[in-house]
């Protein structure tokens, strides 16, 4: 058990049909020198192919890596494996579950909603650009594939190099028709902007082999000393277009200016959690937005967020501010 009040661990589920590239993506995540401790739960070790030099211990159903990451096999029950993991003395910064090829990743992500030690970070669904349409039309698994796509907060259109640009555009429209205005990240060999997908600190060097093809993504930061309007911010977030992959930050709302809210957004799903009093921290709302190069320009983003931050002078705000200075 973590000490009460410990920050919940972000919980990500990676779904997608067999062969779409989930494992490749996980391998990239496990071996990237991101300075964070990931616990990755996979269906079986047979498919993961972790660089042997990184393995420090291989015991039964877990593989410990030199970078502090851990790879566990799910065994007979995801529930028991996950609970086991949460009981371990070592803390992880992020827990990732690889859903089976036919599982609905949304249902697995539900665990993040009922386990206080986890916070649902997002459902990433990987699809094979060359084959997803055929799979979706398959007599036996078509509905399964469509359910997976519909459950995504963020889609990875993998094996993008196997289709022409025009086809990719059609595919994206088709995917959005199923999943709604969900962020779609194009990738080859599951080479995705890991930092954007998993909310790593910007600038982290994520490529052990350091090829020159670091997938591009942009970061933009919004900071304001003015308390934000809650409805205003929610409206801004709801209107963000799909190339915005993530947003994270601390927010001071005009309706509760003495308290700090944590904003987390993955794909199109945002959540705001009350984190308690500001304490002695600077009374500044700060939100980091990460997206593909197609996301709105810095100026456009600034204009959007400014609408939520019109200066509000009201007695509650004033007294909360004064309280701290006494």
């Amino acid at each position: 058990m973590p000490e009460p009040g410990a920050t919940p661990i972000p919980f990500t589920v990676i779904g997608g049909f067999l062969g779409a590239g989930k494992t490749t993506l996980l391998n990239r995540l496990l071996v990237a020198p991101h300075g964070r401790r990931f616990a990755v739960l996979v269906n079986d070790f047979g498919s993961v192919d972790i660089d042997g030099r990184l393995i420090v211990a291989h015991g039964g159903d877990t593989i410990a890596l030199a970078n502090g990451c851990l790879c566990c096999s799910i065994g007979d029950s995801l529930a028991t494996t996950l609970l086991d993991l949460l009981e371990r003395p070592d803390r992880f910064d992020h827990v990732v579950v690889e859903a089976s090829g036919v599982a609905d990743p949304g249902r697995i992500a539900d665990i993040g909603g009922i386990e206080p030690r986890l916070s649902r970070d997002g459902v990433i669904v990987v699809v094979d650009a060359a084959d997803v349409r055929a799979r979706a039309a398959d007599r036996y698994v078509g509905d399964t594939v469509l359910r997976q796509i519909a459950a995504a907060d963020l889609l990875v259109l993998n094996k993008r190099d196997l289709v022409e640009d025009a086809e990719a555009t059609t595919l994206k429209t088709w995917l959005e028709g199923i999943a709604g205005a969900v962020a779609v990240v194009e990738a080859r060999h599951a080479d995705v902007p890991l930092a954007a997908l998993f909310g790593l600190p910007p600038g982290a060097d994520l490529h052990p082999a350091a090829p020159a093809c670091e997938p591009a993504f942009r970061t933009w930061t919004f900071a304001t000393p003015h308390p934000l309007s809650r409805e205003g911010l929610v409206a801004v977030l709801d209107a963000l277009p799909s190339p915005v992959l993530r947003a994270k930050g601390f927010v001071r709302f005009a309706d509760s200016p003495g308290r700090r809210a944590l904003l987390q957004r993955v794909g199109r799903r945002s959540r705001l959690d009350d984190e308690g009093a500001w304490g002695l921290g600077r009374l500044v709302s700060e939100i980091v937005v990460i997206g593909t190069p197609d996301m709105p320009s810095d100026a456009d983003l600034a204009a959007r967020f400014e609408t939520a931050a019109r200066p509000v002078v009201d007695a509650a705000v004033l007294s909360a501010t004064l309280d701290r200075t006494r």
């Binding site: 067999l18 070790f45 065994g75 029950s77 529930a79 036919v102 609905d104 539900d110 009922i114 399964t144």
Partner: protein
């Protein structure tokens, strides 16, 4: 030479068509010398005549082709089902007829527990018989407002909990999660479903639940519950077989007083395919008379009543979207082929007819890739198969084990909601299996329904639902055929028909000892025929007298 015992019985029903009835059976070295009259058997030489079954009827020991040793695990928790159910010591847990009775039972249990805040876990609850009334937080809060209380439903896919559980998990009206059931006002009702239910059950019971349910004691409890029902051979039809379980099974089966032959089926798909056939072959080397490794199980879909079975067009009668694959068709093909090539027999769980179709496709592909006679791959449950699928089974040399108990327990739901009248009436189509010549058995899937082959046979013969509706006159089978299905038929699906399943020369001396003759009682009373006990390998196991 070891001692020969000749048992006299009121009647012996042998399941051997060449010698169907007898009054005596001679046993030596745990095996059957023969069945016949005393004069016929006296020719075997010196013997002791044992008269204790003189007023009993002997049948071949019943063979439960689809059960789970997990049945022995759940009995360490209180049972809350609607129907009476016998526990491992023979005591009957009375069925609870409404939620108030369930709450009262739980309060009793709670009072007897240490005051250490430990979780009260119970099982077998089934609200479908309570006229639409569901259990809610306030019901279980009457049991305790500080001790966590978790009630697992009979389907093992849904649970109810009390406020302490919800509070600790931080589940409230703001929790927006699929498996958290809410009322019209948006408050959680106390019911959790599927993944969230499973997670919470394990969490509430501690992560040890899995091992608790399969510890060494559990397999003994399972064996005893089976023995009480006249079963001498039972499967544990899905087990990952970790070393601790293997050791426990080896230890139990080596004991003289272990009352059944146990057949664990290895849970395929949990271990990389490349490694398994070897691992299983290693286990087979450790087989003994009462423990047989070698079966393999693949689970393809969910359950019909859980709305997770994979159905062919037109799907669920009430419009519910199609169910879920446990593993996809490609993986079913690959897994089945791997075990098929390695020479193992595969049991495939298929509830919906689309799942059955995929399983048949897999068998057909495996046979094309690696022809093999007498594989006896078996479709388990196979509840929705139509006549064409039975013809395919026959053509492919497959067997089927039909879930006859379902007719009684969920038949009404299938008729009204899940399948609709036509498909409900043909479900678990024993008569079609018989007419098509597909070797078949019938089963209970304990702990999903209680283990009791005579009850299962009664279901296949009478096809009555819990409400008294006859579900499919055309699929009824006769008592003799049903008795064959729970003995020789099941033995065939386990490739043990050379050893057990009938009372004839050379087979193991495994008998079900009954108070009455199931062939002469009114077929509607078949389930009420008393089981005195069993004989296993010549050793007599009297069932404890029931309360």
């Amino acid at each position: 030479m070891s001692r020969t015992v000749i048992y006299r019985a009121r009647r012996i029903v042998t399941m051997n068509p060449g010698n169907p009835f007898a009054t005596h059976v001679a046993v030596r070295e745990g095996r059957i010398l023969g069945a016949g009259s005393l004069e016929q058997l006296a020719g075997w030489g010196a013997h002791d005549l044992d008269e204790r079954f003189a007023d009993k009827v002997l049948l071949p020991g019943f063979v439960e082709g689809h059960s789970h040793a997990f049945e022995g695990g759940v009995w360490q928790f209180p049972y809350l089902g609607y129907f009476d159910r016998a526990g491992p010591d023979g005591t009957i847990s009375r069925g609870l007829r409404n939620i108030e009775e369930v709450v009262a039972r739980l309060r009793e249990v709670e009072k007897a527990m240490p005051r250490d805040g430990s979780t009260l876990l119970a099982w077998g609850f089934d609200p479908i018989y309570f006229g639409g009334r569901r259990m809610d937080l306030s019901d279980l809060d009457k049991v305790s407002t500080d001790r966590p209380v978790v009630v697992i439903h009979s389907n093992f896919h849904v649970l109810n909990a009390n406020t302490p559980v919800f509070r600790k998990a931080g589940i409230d009206r703001s929790t927006n999660v699929h498996g958290v059931v809410k009322d019209a006002t948006g408050e959680p009702t106390g019911e959790l479903q599927e993944m969230t239910a499973k997670f919470m059950a394990y969490k509430a019971a501690g992560v040890q639940l899995a091992s608790l349910l399969s510890d060494n004691e559990a397999v003994w409890r399972f064996a005893r519950v089976a023995q009480l029902a006249g079963v001498t051979t039972a499967t544990d039809l899905h087990n990952e077989l970790p070393q601790s379980t293997v050791d426990g099974y080896l230890e139990a089966s080596a004991r003289e007083d272990f009352p059944i032959r146990l057949l664990p089926a290895f849970a395929a798909g949990l271990v990389p395919l490349a490694e398994v056939p070897d691992r299983l072959a290693g286990l087979v080397k450790r087989n003994n008379e009462k423990l047989r490794f070698g079966l393999v199980k693949i689970v393809t879909d969910g359950s019909i009543q859980g709305l997770s079975a994979r159905m062919r067009w037109p799907g669920y009668y009430d419009g519910t979207p199609n169910g879920v694959w446990n593993v996809g068709p490609d993986e079913i093909d690959r897994t089945l082929l791997a075990y098929h090539r390695a020479g193992f027999q595969v049991h495939v769980h298929t509830n919906g007819d689309e799942a059955s179709e995929v399983a048949l496709n897999a068998i057909e592909k495996a046979l094309a890739a690696a022809p093999r006679w007498d594989h006896r791959h078996t479709l388990q449950h196979c509840q929705m198969a139509d006549a064409s699928q039975f013809r395919r089974m026959k053509a492919l040399g497959a067997c089927v084990n039909l879930f006859a108990n379902h007719l009684y327990y969920w038949g009404d739901v299938h008729y009204e909601k899940t399948l609709g009248p036509e498909r409900a009436e043909r479900m678990d189509a024993c008569a079609t299996a018989l007419a098509t010549g597909v070797p078949f058995a019938i089963h209970c899937d304990a702990p999903v329904t209680p283990i009791g082959p005579l009850f299962t046979a009664w279901c296949a013969v009478n096809r009555l639902t819990a409400s008294g509706r006859t579900l499919g006159e055309a699929e009824k089978i006769g008592v003799a055929d049903a008795l064959r299905a729970i003995t020789l038929g099941a033995a065939w699906t386990l490739k043990l028909d050379d050893e057990i399943g009938s009372i004839e020369t050379g087979k193991r001396a495994d008998f079900a000892v009954l108070d009455d003759d199931p062939l002469t009682v009114d077929p509607t009373r078949l389930k009420d025929v008393g089981v005195w006990g069993t004989v296993l390998g010549g050793r007599v196991f009297e069932a404890p007298r029931r309360a």
